[in-house]
Symmetry: C2
Subunit: 434 residues, 2 copies
């Protein structure tokens, strides 16, 4: 066993600075866990002369990746630089040089996870990525180890803090999407280009990772159907509340008889669902297993120290494995061949809001379209819209399949009496056996 373990850090941004602080502040605990001293040997940065928020010995900084990737003193490489191209090449080179890797990079793991895990395994190295999903929540460990005895059939994740903050604020204050987004940007909760967050892509990456692990199937990013929150209105949130729901941007991953569906979209959850009270920038993943039933894992989804906690916990596992000489043995290849559900097999209840001409027969035309497709209503609201010859109609359907629902949706747009389909959302977290 080494007397000390040396870390090479790729990146010194938000997460990297957190990693430096935790390693400095928790030396005693680290030594207790790992059995040897842990310290940072080198840190790759773009500009070594830049001012830093974290106090750091300048000798540690380098602008040359080879100082880490080919450094014979370094045992573990921690990738917290983000992005895909550079990071991927660096990680592969580190693994080929027999260095273990810990990464917080969800883009990379969602797109190249299987390939990178294979390279790690071929080189007898660990590759861990707990921080890539839901920041400080140890969800990957819980799926892979804590619930390893069970067959997971459903995961619903609030895995993007920015959108959860926006929807919480819109719902509590009745504000518009645009106003709250601006506020979130001012507070640093949303980036100046918020597309990846608000359009659901960030959540989709995390769901691809969770789906792969939870269902033991190689889920690709392209398998996740994605819709963001930029069209959600304050009216939708108000109706959702009136009907006893809360709106959240959720990733939904379900398995039925060996076939899976994975998607990200704004959805309604019953207000007493465990996820319904997950607010602001918090993340949570609801996991349903055949044997265990309902569980939920809640915590901070981002931030310097929370995410760094996950990174350093992974480092501890790597270092324990080094002590025992068992690195590179923990990642299992998927057990099942990927089988995606067809649209006929994707079942859900739906919320729909329409603007309809306020005249005789209008309502009959709509109801006959639904009933002709064997879709029945669970709830219905209709009220006149002031100063217009229009009525607002809100429909909550019973369970139907995605194909039928989309067919009805497109037929509604063709009906003369329907002025517009204003919005439409899945309703999740309800039992269909009720």
């Amino acid at each position: 066993m080494n007397e000390k373990i040396s870390i090479g850090l790729l990146g010194l941004g938000t997460v990297g600075s957190g990693v430096v602080r935790i390693i400095e502040n928790h030396q005693q605990e680290l030594k207790h866990h790992v059995g040897s001293a842990v310290y940072i040997e080198k840190i790759l940065v773009k500009d070594a002369s830049k001012q830093r928020t974290v106090e750091i010995d300048e000798q540690l900084l380098t602008e040359n990746p080879e100082d880490i990737l080919s450094n014979p003193n370094i045992d573990v490489v921690v990738e917290v630089m983000g992005g895909t191209n550079g990071a991927k090449d660096y990680i592969i080179q580190a693994l080929k040089n027999k260095k273990h890797v810990v990464t917080a990079n969800k883009d990379l793991m969602a797109m190249y996870g299987a390939e990178l895990l294979t390279v790690a395994s071929e080189n007898g190295c660990d590759l861990f990525y707990e921080a890539s999903v839901a920041g400080g929540i140890p969800i990957i460990r819980s799926l892979v180890e804590g619930l390893s005895s069970d067959r997971i059939t459903k995961m619903i994740g609030i895995v993007n803090g920015t959108t959860n903050y926006i929807l919480t604020k819109m719902s509590n204050e009745g504000s518009s999407y645009e106003d709250v987004l601006q506020e979130a940007q001012d507070l640093g909760y949303a980036e100046s280009d918020p597309t990846a967050d608000v359009e659901g892509l960030d959540a989709a990456r995390k769901m691809a990772i969770l789906g792969t692990l939870g269902f033991s199937m190689n889920i690709a990013l392209e398998d996740v159907s994605v819709q963001g929150i930029s069209n959600v209105t304050e009216e939708d949130l108000e109706y959702a509340k009136q009907l006893g729901y809360r709106m959240k941007l959720v990733g939904i991953a379900k398995r039925d008889e060996g076939k899976v569906e994975i998607s990200v979209q704004p959805s309604l959850l019953p207000k007493n669902h465990p996820l319904a009270s997950v607010n602001d920038v918090f993340n949570a993943v609801y996991v349903y297993g055949e044997a265990v039933g309902e569980t939920m894992f809640y915590g901070p989804g981002a931030g310097s120290l929370p995410t760094a906690t996950a990174v350093v916990s992974d480092m501890i596992t790597v270092m324990k494995n080094m002590r025992l000489g068992v690195n590179g043995r923990s990642a299992l290849p998927p057990l099942y061949e990927k089988k995606l559900k067809t649209d006929e097999e994707i079942l859900s209840k739906y919320f729909m809001r329409l603007h309809v001409e306020d005249k005789a027969g209008a309502f009959a035309a709509i109801t006959s379209l639904f009933s002709g497709n064997n879709v029945s209503f669970e709830k219905l609201l209709q009220m006149p819209i002031k100063n217009k010859d229009l009525a607002e109609v809100v429909i909550v359907t019973h369970k139907t399949n995605k194909r039928t629902y989309e067919h009805i949706h497109s037929c509604l747009r063709d009906l003369d009496v329907v002025k517009d389909v204003m919005s439409s959302y899945r309703i999740e977290g309800v039992s269909y056996d009720e």
Copy 2:
């Protein structure tokens, strides 16, 4: 590596039956994780001729513990019989015979955990006990591995399903403790002798285990101060709601500057606290770490299959360790010497309900007692009690220490104008820096 792994089961009650079912139903997944077939070789029962709810080959049943403890074919002993004396001897014998042990026994681990872990380590064996706390929630793993990089400063646990069911039902329906307890017994949620649950002892055992792991200190059951829910009234629950709180039986474990406090008592939580919406028989553990901040782990705290999930996940870890040849290496002795807070160091806000004589000067006597001890009020309600010359007074204090509060409490009883101190609860889950 063995071609098959043989399990010996001590006990075939609720949890044991669940273990049998999961092993039968998840053979393919188990083989994938473990790399070899897993089967049950022998099951110790009190009466082999008894009718069982689970279908079982009668050849597997034995009434002789030696058929398991000294059976050379058996690799892993799973103790799900409960109780302490017999179970302790069996586990020690199994470990000395170099058999790994998985147990769901919270009584045993709370009382003899340190001793048993030492025996396991001396014999190069694993001893895991995830199922002993919060049933199907992988909380032990999350503390020991997922948050291993962090310094945990607070754990608040709803770790007893029976009492959570009773308090939820009392709060929702305004029913009395006695009525709801009877109902819980009829439904099988409470035992015919409910003492260990309702008086907080079961929760105390689990908090001793969580405290030991989370704070890396040898916490004994005697270190946990315990108060149950049998004196909670519907009036208390109603006032709690009015003031924006929810009442829960919680275990509280806090660490400040190296000193800890551990207790179990009915307490008020702000209604927007993550634990406040944990209802019915569900369990949840809220964990605060210096770096990660707020996290929560939610799920079923009891039940055959949920608890068995935790047992079988532990078995999988044992069997993976067998494949790698690294058993008996994972349990770390506590890093810190145990230091308990004094009553002066235990800080909290309190809720108190009094019956006071409805006459001039009564209120002044009470307020001067509090202010004389430097305790100020955050909230105050006073209203007359019908048909009596009494007023009901409800006080929410600002932060104070336990010693001062208990001093005030006993002085109040001596005041002439105070007819009775009806109830008194800690208020938890609030920030004291507000």
